[in-house]
């Protein structure tokens, strides 16, 4: 809660290793915010102003009505993540930020694909769909809509398969993530 306290003393080696604190990997930040007007604008504005790029962003309610959760992904190769989190902590509506450790986290994304499915192609689309445990949620005479849920990697793999089959349109929710174990995210 609130702003982070003083860090432990860094050795010079650690400092240099931090090298501007760019980690080179994707970071999933899970942010609890007060559900107040303008809170999303404040966060989006902060990212724009400081030149940080948001890769994906999702917002949704939590079990507490007055609190929302924002999950966003940022490229740690482009931005020093601790600069991002320290700036976020300065927003008064931000209650808590977690930079989720990939191996201690379950993350999911949902995507909807509209794929051309004329005649003989339809069978192939359905086969790929099955391999990825996708769900056909709508069928038309010339197209199908497939729902795929999974990690970002899986969604991207499905997209790669669907594209040559005739991908008409794709929509993705962006990632949500929850920490493993008993403790709260």
């Amino acid at each position: 809660m609130g702003e982070p306290g003083t860090q432990e003393l860094l050795s010079l080696e650690e400092l240099e290793a931090a090298g501007g604190m760019r980690t080179g990997r994707k970071h999933v930040l899970s942010i609890l915010v007060e559900d107040k007007p303008g809170v999303l604008t404040r966060i989006a504005g902060l990212f724009a102003r400081r030149g940080f790029n948001i890769d994906t962003l999702t917002v949704g309610p939590t079990d507490d009505l007055s609190v929302s959760r924002i999950t966003l992904t940022v490229d740690g190769a482009l931005h020093p993540i601790d600069h991002v989190t320290k700036q976020l902590h300065k927003l008064i509506n931000v209650l808590k930020i977690r930079d989720l450790e990939p191996r201690d986290t379950v993350s999911r994304e949902l995507a909807l694909f509209k794929i051309a499915a004329d005649g003989p192609q339809r069978a192939e689309v359905l086969q790929v769909c099955e391999i990825f445990r996708g769900k056909v949620v709508d069928v038309g005479r010339r197209s199908v809509i497939v729902e795929v849920t999974g990690t970002t990697d899986k969604i991207e793999a499905f997209e790669a398969m669907a594209r040559p089959l005739g991908l008409i349109e794709m929509m993705r929710t962006g990632e949500i993530a929850i920490s493993r174990g008993r403790g709260e995210t």
Binding site: G5, T6, L15, G38, R49, D82, H83
Partner: protein
């Protein structure tokens, strides 16, 4: 009572003694409440003047300033002071009127998205959606403005909600779960910092406005004197350490002294306190203080390692941390002789490169001399505000501030037109002190209208215009970096500041001769009521020394 009457009760509970503002349609209810509230309100001539006056008040007194404006243009006129207060960490509460809720989002008359317009410029803001929220929002606003790293906040109140009847309950506790500034520095880190200071052979204290904000000038001075630590300060930090003094190196940065900048360049340990490594300080970042390790003390964790990585980061209030650091340092009983060689080196720079300028031989007033004359005429004891430009740098160099909160200027945003209204606010907050505004002839015209406010309210400020008929700093850069191709910098001989002062109901004076300047200024400053003096100075003088933009301290010129 009406919500606006509750606003007045909240302001009184917060100890507000004065509000700077201008009424309009959307805040008519608020102004109706002023009639019976018993809070002093100063009617400014432009909302920007009111905003800067509230900043000047806050900087001079250390209390929270309050400025008000109506919706739409009232609020947009406040954007500059809000951003200015953000950049310089000034605690100001801005209360704006907003159109009625039924008109919100319809492009109603005098509607502007005040919250959206000011969002990147505030520490926090509140859009009132229900009249019952108003008292709590006002108290939260004061709490956020004054605590942690101070800053500006905005409370936007739609007209119909401000008029509504509410059951007012005084708010005694402010709880913001997402806002808990760290004030006490980590004890282990402070011990590490003390050890580093005790073993450093070439240490420098680099202090900024955070020391002034934290009221830590005494703690800083005590610590520096425990072991002859050299001290330099940023533009915002002047007065945090008493100048002149044997340990005082002068200001650092683009127009700082060579002693200060060279000391930073050769230091093995830099203790940064309430400073944020602005580009005007570091110059070329890759060549900034290349031999130094850094202790960085700041109440805002986001400043630490933002531009320069800190080896020993300490998040906390400067007053608390410096007090503890002194205790820890004293216990180490450091051998002071380790600094002998360092001081010899610094004294060498000092002797070789004092601040200097070529004195005139023909009676012309050199701008640097003007500041020295102001220093003498005020006994070095005035509150000095400035605008932005050459006159600001010369004032910083030649007026030796020996106390905090005497030097008030716009550092981060560099807002021309800041000085005159800021002087007005400072004088209202500190009526017993002499307040002078050293202004530029370009800058002063940007908020000139507040001279009428000063005349009407009897606010006794002395505006000393350093008049060279140029936008001098831009001219200097065109001379140095653009082959002297002067473009749109010559302001000629306009306006006639003496007549203008008189038109505003102030006293207007003009001095153009070096002889007798100190005496003339002394008389001008002793003249009752607001006074504006047109001081004609040499036209093409440059501010030196200088680190050219993007260059290293080592390569100072002039």
């Amino acid at each position: 009572m009406r919500a606006v009457d509750a606003v007045m009760e909240c302001l009184k509970a917060e100890g507000v003694e004065v509000v700077f503002g201008l009424p309009g349609g959307a805040n008519l209810p608020t102004y109706d409440a002023f009639v019976d509230a018993g809070i002093r309100h100063i009617l400014v001539r432009h909302e920007a003047g009111g905003g800067h006056a509230a900043e000047g008040y806050a900087k001079a007194t250390g209390r929270v300033g309050v400025a008000m404006g109506t919706s739409g243009p009232g609020a947009t006129n406040l954007v500059t002071p809000i951003m200015d207060a953000m950049m310089d960490s000034v605690p100001v509460v801005f209360i704006t009127g907003q159109v009625r809720t039924e008109l919100l989002g319809t492009d109603g008359f005098q509607e502007a998205d005040t919250l959206g317009l000011t969002m990147p410029a505030v520490k926090h803001s509140w859009m009132i959606q229900h009249p019952l929220e108003i008292p709590r929002a006002i108290h939260e606003a004061f709490h956020v403005a004054r605590t942690g790293r101070p800053g500006p906040v905005v409370v936007d109140i739609p007209q119909d909600l401000s008029r509504a009847e509410i059951d007012y309950q005084p708010v005694t506790d402010v709880k913001l779960p997402g806002y808990q500034p760290t004030t006490e520095g980590n004890a282990k880190q402070i011990r590490q910092a003390a050890k580093a200071l005790a073993t450093a052979r070439r240490p420098v204290f680099y202090v900024g406005g955070g020391v002034v904000n934290a009221g830590a000038a005494k703690e800083l001075t005590d610590l520096a004197r425990l072991d002859r630590f050299p001290v330099t300060a940023t533009l915002m930090g002047l007065g945090a350490y008493p100048a002149p003094d044997p340990l005082w190196l002068g200001m650092l940065g683009m127009h700082g002294t060579r002693a200060a900048n060279y000391a930073m360049d050769e230091a093995d340990l830099i203790c940064a306190i309430g400073a944020r490594f602005d580009d005007r300080i570091t110059g070329k970042l890759s060549e900034f203080a290349p031999r130094a390790k850094f202790i960085h003390i700041d109440v805002d964790p986001a400043e630490i390692s933002k531009n320069v990585p800190a080896h020993i980061p300490i998040v906390g209030d400067a007053r608390h941390v410096l007090g503890r650091l002194a205790t820890e340092f004293r216990a180490l009983e450091a051998d002071s002789s380790r600094l002998d060689a360092w001081w010899e080196r610094i004294e060498g720079w000092r002797a070789k490169y004092p601040l200097r300028y070529e004195e005139s031989t023909d009676g012309e007033i050199k701008p640097q001399y003007m500041v020295q004359a102001v220093y003498e005429a005020t006994g070095g004891d005035a509150i000095v505000t400035t605008d932005v430009g050459q006159h600001q740098m010369w004032a910083a160099q030649y007026y030796h501030f020996d106390q905090p909160r005497k030097w008030i200027n716009s550092g981060g945003l560099g807002t021309m037109g800041f000085g005159l209204p800021a002087a007005m606010g400072a004088k209202v907050g500190c009526p017993d002190q002499t307040v002078v505004c050293i202004a530029g002839d370009g800058s002063v015209q940007m908020n000139m209208q507040e001279l009428a406010t000063c005349a009407q309210e009897g606010i006794d400020i002395k505006v000393l215009i350093m008049n060279n008929g140029y936008l001098g700093m831009v001219r200097q850069w065109q001379e140095l970096f653009w082959d002297r191709r002067y473009s749109q910098v010559d302001m000629g001989n306009f306006p006639d500041f003496v007549k203008l002062a008189e038109a505003y109901g102030a006293t207007g004076l003009r001095f153009a001769e070096k002889a007798g300047l100190v005496e003339n200024l002394r008389e001008a400053i002793a003249t009752p009521g607001p006074v504006m003096v047109d001081v004609r100075v040499g036209r093409e003088e440059n501010v030196y020394p200088m680190i050219a933009p993007g260059q290293a301290a080592r390569d100072m010129v002039g």
